[in-house]
């Protein structure tokens, strides 16, 4: 690839974009410019064959681009001074050549602004030498002017950085300014205080705006200069927690760092990061000017993820540090801030582990205790039940015994009664027997037959037993019953016994 050509194409693109008031990529994308520098198309067909260039683009920029490519190949001849005798250059070609050569003459110049003419896209002004009144015409694109954060006023002393350039339509030489900075601590300090006041009024420094640096951040964006110990300091202190660190090397010194820092921030904005760290080692108030730039401060304030600013400083805190979500003084503090949550997490987990396990152990102990208590209670209950049962059993045994006893008693009684009964009965029988015998004796003693046998007889008259003399009359027929029959007799006489 022709790097020289690519640089020329880039310069052309930047100018064109500034003139049109558009972003550079809207003219041609990076890739397209690189392809042009690679292919070096010499006509429309070849150019349209490049991806990203169509009819519309060609119609707008085709001729200019082809001229640059052609010019580039002719420049070599120019430098070699070939053909100049026979074929003089046109004014236009020569000015093109001069401008291309003068890009190499970049310079920093200091002076006092002596006139200002602010246009829509560009500011024309002149810079006067403070000693001998020499003057150089200058111009600065409006976008660069805004970026500088400096208000151009006649008499303001500034340092300009840029390259000389001849404006072809009038052949005027101007110093094309890429960056501008104020001169002298006093002026810088004044601008700083003004801006600080402005941001303060806007509430940009308010605590409520600050976002917490996220715990367990893993994707870290770093913008800093590769030079110096800052990056090493940071990396030494961040620890090994599997961080994914994306670093952009940026200029951090002086006013010219602003554009670089802005580009870095813009690039970082598109990266997937959890936190952005902007770092710079300590420096004088003047050397930290970039970090007091209004545009940069606003970019930091509006950055998509929390920003840590680690910018070493003296008395005056850089505005970027003030507006950042966290402003610290050294890269090591920034690093330890980020890894703090990781370190704490380990302690946190160990503490939680202890708490949870201990607490559960405790509760298990408690449960064990209450289980043994329950067991005790159940034991007591069951004991009391067994006791009751024993009591009841005993009662039962006693009552059974009682019952048995009473049964025995009854039986005994019965036996006794039976005996008594027998005895009584026997007695009765004996008595009856006795009676009978007595009766028999009586009866036998009184049996009339016995008397008859003994010789007694029974006298009857008309079946009436004669007991007295009175019962009979002489002549009566009287029957005499004797032992073995009857004697019928007649009464012949009767006599009363002498008394």
């Amino acid at each position: 690839m022709d790097n020289d050509l690519l640089q020329k194409l880039r310069d052309w693109r930047r100018n064109t974009a500034n003139l049109e008031g558009v972003e550079s990529f809207q003219v041609f994308a990076n890739k397209v410019l690189e392809n042009i520098a690679e292919v070096k198309p010499s006509n429309k067909e070849e150019m349209i064959a490049i991806k990203g260039i169509r009819d519309r683009k060609f119609a707008k920029y085709g001729e200019q681009v082809l001229a640059i490519i052609n010019g580039n190949s002719e420049d070599a001849k120019l430098l070699n001074n070939i053909d100049q005798v026979n074929k003089p250059l046109s004014v236009s070609r020569y000015l093109d050549f001069l401008n291309q050569e003068m890009v190499k003459l970049q310079a920093r110049i200091q002076g006092e602004i002596s006139s200002v003419d602010i246009r829509e896209r560009v500011i024309y002004f002149s810079l006067k030498d403070s000693n001998d009144e020499s003057v150089i015409n200058c111009l600065i694109w409006k976008s660069d002017y805004n970026l500088s954060g400096i208000k151009f006023e006649i008499g303001t002393e500034v340092i300009l950085e840029g390259t000389p350039d001849i404006y072809k339509p009038n052949g005027r030489l101007s110093f094309k300014v890429s960056s501008v900075e104020l001169v002298g601590e006093g002026a810088l300090k004044k601008a700083y205080e003004q801006l600080k006041k402005k941001f303060d009024a806007e509430g940009l420094f308010l605590k409520e705006r600050k976002r917490a640096i996220p715990s367990y951040s893993q994707k870290i964006g770093i913008i800093t200069s590769r030079q110096g110990a800052v990056l090493a300091d940071f990396l030494t202190n961040i620890g090994s927690h599997g961080f994914k660190i994306k670093m952009i090397d940026s200029r951090v010194e002086g006013q010219t760092a602003v554009a670089d820092l802005l580009l870095s921030i813009k690039t970082m904005k598109k990266k997937d990061i959890d936190v952005l760290v902007i770092m710079r080692g300590g420096g004088s108030f003047e050397s930290l000017q970039a970090f007091n730039n209004e545009v940069l401060v606003r970019e930091v304030a509006n950055f998509s993820v929390p920003v840590i600013a680690a910018i070493g400083h003296d008395k005056d805190v850089p505005l970027v540090s003030m507006v950042a979500d966290l402003g610290v003084s050294t890269p090591s503090i920034a690093a330890t801030t980020i890894c703090q949550s990781w370190k704490e997490a380990i302690l946190f987990i160990e503490r939680r582990e202890r708490q949870i396990i201990d607490r559960y152990k405790q509760s298990l102990e408690g449960v064990k205790d209450s289980i043994s208590k329950f067991t005790e209670t159940v034991k007591e209950y069951s004991n009391s039940i067994i006791n009751k049962y024993t009591d009841i059993k005993n009662c039962l045994v006693v009552s059974m015994q009682n019952f048995k006893n009473s049964l025995m008693n009854i039986r005994n009684n019965l036996d006794l009664s039976k005996q008594n009964l027998f005895i009584d009965f026997k007695n009765l029988l004996l008595k009856a027997n006795q009676n009978l015998r007595n009766s028999e004796n009586i009866i036998s003693a009184n049996n009339p037959e016995r008397h008859l046998k003994l010789g007694y007889s029974i006298a009857k008259i008309n079946d009436r037993i004669v007991k007295s003399v009175e019962d009979v009359s002489v002549g009566d027929s009287m029957d005499l019953l004797v032992y073995d029959g009857e004697i019928i007799s007649e009464i012949k006489n009767k006599k009363l016994k002498n008394k």
Binding site: K219, S240, I245, K246, K271, R352, I357, R359, S363
Partner: protein, 71 residues
Amino acid sequence: MTEDTKNLNQNLKRLSEITEWFDNQEEIDVEEGLKKVKEAVMLIKVSKSRLKEVENEFEEIKKEIEPEIEE
């Protein structure tokens, strides 16, 4: 935030919740407690392994001189 740090964050939060649960219980339901202890042990294990030393990745990226937008 990456998936595993998000998980780490959630794990630690969950551990706090479990701790709080234990602290707030007058009487711990042993079954419920066991469930929580099991969960906690798992979370602790996962988190600890995440918190082990892991090498950092470092990448230097280039500024995009001009933002790229394809037509």
